[in-house]
Symmetry: C2
Subunit: 632 residues, 2 copies
């Protein structure tokens, strides 16, 4: 099965490239841009910056102290390879296939005879291998190599990349196995790479090595650092933790591996620990966008309820990693809360990152931009993750390749199968087909303008008796399911139809797409007295481009009694709310003995809101998701 | 005049050690603890960590690659020396005098023959001198040396420390003068050191070198760094900037020097630029505590209105530096807004830092602590600036010595003189005497329990016709001034009495000490729907120690219609407000289609509030200054 995650057991089974394809729409166009622009964009930047030549230098024995790139730049090449492998598998694109061979050749030459493969350590005057486990990212890089090899193995079969990865994995097992050095990597990733590579190859010892790394962590195994050991989740054993903390991408990659190991080992204690962490972290440490990471300082989670919109970090990679975790949990449990969060994160984090041309990206995804960024030079590397504008490339450029591999493999998140049928989770124009364990062939075609429209038509492609299950998102109160001309209300969760289907029949899910106010828990101090507006799966935002004067966002107040309404005929997703600009007079001191006077006399007007994922497309802007309520 | 700042001109003149002494009360006890505990505490930690031995190693030619401490550790020794010099001048304490000689001897031995003095660069295998102007802190260290020498020169006269400093200053002028290298230091401080050392010695060229450094900055003189050149104020010339940005201590030390240079040169353009920056930064980027610095990532200012209470950095050193700036501006202009801010910062930032025993310190001063910190080990160096508990020493330990030098010289901020009399700015049991330019002797004794009580009695100590001016803080609406038995209302600003005084007469200022609600500007998003409580100059806070259950602070809501009231007979500053614990039920997702239900049925109770500066004295706690309002 050509899927990034293939557990040996679970409540539902993923479907691969041969089973699911996205044929257009919101995600289809993004997959196409990814294929035609982003993949080459990433390769060209890594060539230009010498991140690819780093492999040649190791092979040629010409490493030098001025090696370009951070210690994790190898991983960007591997993530691009993973994206290329999914793309090649998806479309058979010869350009992708050629790029895979080109990159694999250069990587393979850099592998040491014992399997060690890294361009930053262990050659020439470089520091010795594994001399900086805290921050050196060696095992992290290898983990991404293994994920790339999994993609290649499942879409193509064994080749040089897979053989390189196998030698690298063996080297890791020899070095850090039960009889080896009791070390772990400061950035989790090797664990999720080993677990899946082990599943893909049937190599139990790789899964075991992932388990060893997981259980070795959390005992102060790494040296303390100023940010504290929670930064790399070495503060508490994963089985004991109640919540995610520290660096968000680290926490989430680690958790993804924990699900893999728990499932492979039938380790319910570990699975329950992860579910407990997911529950509290999603309930108390997650933005309305699905974004995770409240702090810039350590790109990390904050305390419970610490969710500042302006300083939200919400790294794109943390969105990708959150989806990795929730997908694994969904496969294990079938619980719809995980696929709900995946939808939210896809539309409001992953989709927000790339520009329409696929050549610029958001790294951080704040929910409130106070001052517009400066226009980015498409020919420059951005030194900063937080600029309020999308950048062509970053000094730390983890996000573009993470977006690329996610979009290239996106069809994998649309649907699953169980013993009696199909479950559709994400709605896009697509076809889904599967063979059930007893040999029944099930197949549907999905037609929808989602998320612009809420109608999802599922056309049956072959006769048969089976169960079709459609996810009704948690926000979709009032949804209906029409089967054979009769519509019935369906509750959030999975709406199922079990009957003998005939080819050509259509089951129609109607999701309510009226825009709606969404209120925060009062314990989220940073957005007290504010309301957000959502429409379908999209979080909306107000942007300075749409306001009468540029500083208007500081003065905007919304009337919560006036229901938000969609603009007919406007570009997709545009919504109006009633608001006014109620800036108080400037004073020499921001604090006073009486509440600010109300802004009587300033006229109400219709404030346009648009999908958050499209903000800053019209040039640098200020923006806010959470809208202050008049009178608060 | 034994004062840290002695401008050659200005609206009012500072008074020195011989003119002002604090005789007890809130600040008297803190000065005493500083003298008897903190000074020795700082020296002992720097001995233990090898920061003092770094000087011996340079002198002995035994510097090694494992040199302990950051590149700025020398400056801590200099700040301690400055504190010791003020302390020795204030009390004649032989222990302080002995420490000065002891430290000076070790420092002097490390000075190179050409005047260069630094333990981190330029010796043995260390990087060459001035090879990392961005982050190397060499000139920063020298600036603190010069400030220490100013203190020594003014309290004692020329000695080895002053001679060492003079050689170091000369070296800086030769190296970075008009014909030298066009560099600046990544951390401003040399400028303020040179300006005052120049004033103290009558060396015009030192002031000129300060001006050169000031005007050289802001043109991209330093290399760019990931945090951007605004981090070290090299993004914009100081004359063009409208607001403080980047690292707060850097911005404020730089600004202090700009006032010095502006005053010495009669450079009104520069002075106006600084006043403009002060105005916007204080109006829009300053916490109610006077604290500055909204971001942990760069210890820096945020955007306008970006003032999160939980992630407030409010570094103690930034409070010290803010006082340095405002004091210089007050001396130049006589404007009471500057001394108002000094009072606010003294009580709510500087006083918050040290523990009652003077052996532990806050580095960051957040206005909301969500989770209690872990108890600090008094024998351990804290690696973190943000721990929710005071620490004995820090890996970056700038704050303890900054508190020490500020407290040792605190009497310098109490009063000024002009041609016709005295101005009293900060109220403490004290004596103030001065000789006016025409020879009149003026002297008063101040008796007060401030800030516990609001009565300030000013007893005239000698007959004479002159003007007594008393600061009426901006918050003190309803204050009265009683002279000769007749009380009259006085407005915030300076309340003056000009007449022929007779020794023994008492003028009494009554400041209203009823606790009061204070409301934030609605543009401060992070505290919307909240109110703070202040009493006199003290900002109050709620602390988990005083609530029925430890998580109570997340659930606290205040009734804004019930006026806060002082507790009679309770420990100083305790105030009660009416509140209740209104925690909403836990939900799996923090965002919902309706506002949270009100917390009907949970009983109201009296919530004790205490001065913010005393929080976490009773052990680790959660705490908040901004209190959510019931029903918001």
């Amino acid at each position: 099965m050509t899927s990034p995650v293939l557990p040996s057991q679970g409540r539902v089974r993923p479907l691969g490239l041969a089973q699911v394809s996205i044929t257009g729409g919101f995600w289809g166009s993004r997959q196409a841009v990814n294929a035609t622009a982003t993949l080459a964009h990433c390769e060209s930047w890594m060539e230009r910056l010498g991140w690819l030549a780093n492999f040649d230098r190791v092979a040629d024995g010409t490493t030098a102290p001025d090696r370009p790139g951070w210690s994790f730049s190898d991983s960007e090449v591997y993530k691009l390879l993973e994206a290329l492998a999914w793309e090649s598998g998806r479309t058979g694109d010869p350009a992708a296939e050629a790029a895979i061979k080109r990159l694999t050749g250069r990587i393979a030459r850099a592998q040491d005879p014992d399997g060690y493969l890294n361009t930053c350590f262990g050659h020439g005057t470089q520091p010795p291998r594994y001399s900086d486990l805290e921050m050196g990212h060696e095992l992290y890089n290898t983990g991404h190599l293994l994920q790339a090899a999994v993609a290649r193995l499942r879409t193509h079969g064994e080749d040089d990349l897979v053989r390189v990865a196998r030698r690298a994995a063996d080297h890791v097992c020899r070095t850090f196995g039960p009889d080896g050095r009791a070390g772990i990597c400061g950035h989790p990733e090797i664990e999720v790479g080993l677990a899946e590579f082990g599943r893909a190859l049937g190599e139990e010892r790789y899964v075991e090595q992932a388990r060893i790394f997981l259980d070795r962590r959390g005992h102060g195994t790494l040296r303390d650092i100023p940010l504290g050991r929670a930064y790399f989740q070495d503060d508490l054993p994963i089985r004991e933790a109640d919540v995610w903390r520290g660096h968000a991408v680290r926490a989430l990659y680690l958790t993804a591996a924990a699900v893999d190991v728990a499932v492979e080992r039938g380790d319910d204690e570990l699975l329950r620990a992860v579910e407990r962490q997911w529950e509290r972290s999603v309930a108390r440490r997650t933005y309305i966008t699905g974004g995770m990471g409240s702090r810039h300082q350590d790109e990390g989670f904050g305390e419970d309820w610490e969710l500042p919109p302006d300083r939200a970090y919400c790294e794109t990679c943390a969105g990708v990693a959150s989806i990795m975790v929730s997908w694994r949990l969904h496969l294990a449990t079938g619980d719809v809360r995980y696929t709900d969060l995946i939808e939210r994160t896809l539309y409001n984090v992953v989709a927000a990152s790339p520009s329409p041309d696929g050549r610029a990206f958001f790294y951080a995804n704040p929910l409130h931009q106070r001052a517009p960024g400066r226009p980015a030079d498409p020919d420059e590397v951005s030194p900063r993750a937080e600029a309020g504008v999308r950048a062509a490339w970053f000094d730390v450029s983890c996000c573009p390749t993470n977006v690329a591999r996610t979009l290239a493999g996106l069809q994998g998140y649309l649907a699953t199968a169980d013993d009696d049928g199909l479950q559709l989770h994400q709605y896009a124009p697509s076809t889904v087909r599967a063979e059930l364990p007893d040999g029944r062939e099930v197949a549907v075609e999905v037609e929808t303008a989602y998320p612009d429209g809420g109608t999802v038509r599922v056309r049956i492609l072959a006769d048969g008796l089976w169960t079709l299950a459609l996810r009704v998102p948690a926000w979709a109160a009032g949804a209906t399911l029409a089967d054979d001309g009769r519509a019935r209300p369906v509750e959030p969760g999975m709406a199922t139809v079990r009957r003998a289907f005939r080819a050509g029949e259509v089951i129609t899910l109607e999701l309510p797409m009226e825009p709606r106010f969404t209120w925060p828990d009062p314990r989220i101090d940073a957005v007290r007295g504010c309301v957000a507006v959502e429409r379908g799966p999209e979080v909306l935002c107000a942007e300075s481009h749409d306001l009468p004067h540029p500083g208007g966002l500081d003065a905007l107040a919304i009337d919560p009694r006036a229901v938000p309404r969609s603009v007919r005929g406007a570009e997709s997703g545009e919504v109006l709310v009633r608001g006014r600009l109620a800036a108080p007079p400037d004073r020499p001191w921001a604090y006073s003995g009486a509440p600010a006077a109300s802004a009587a006399g300033i006229e109400w007007f219709d404030v346009p809101l648009r999908p958050y994922h499209s903000w800053a497309r019209r040039g640098p802007s200020s923006m806010r998701v959470w809208l202050p309520i008049e009178g608060e």
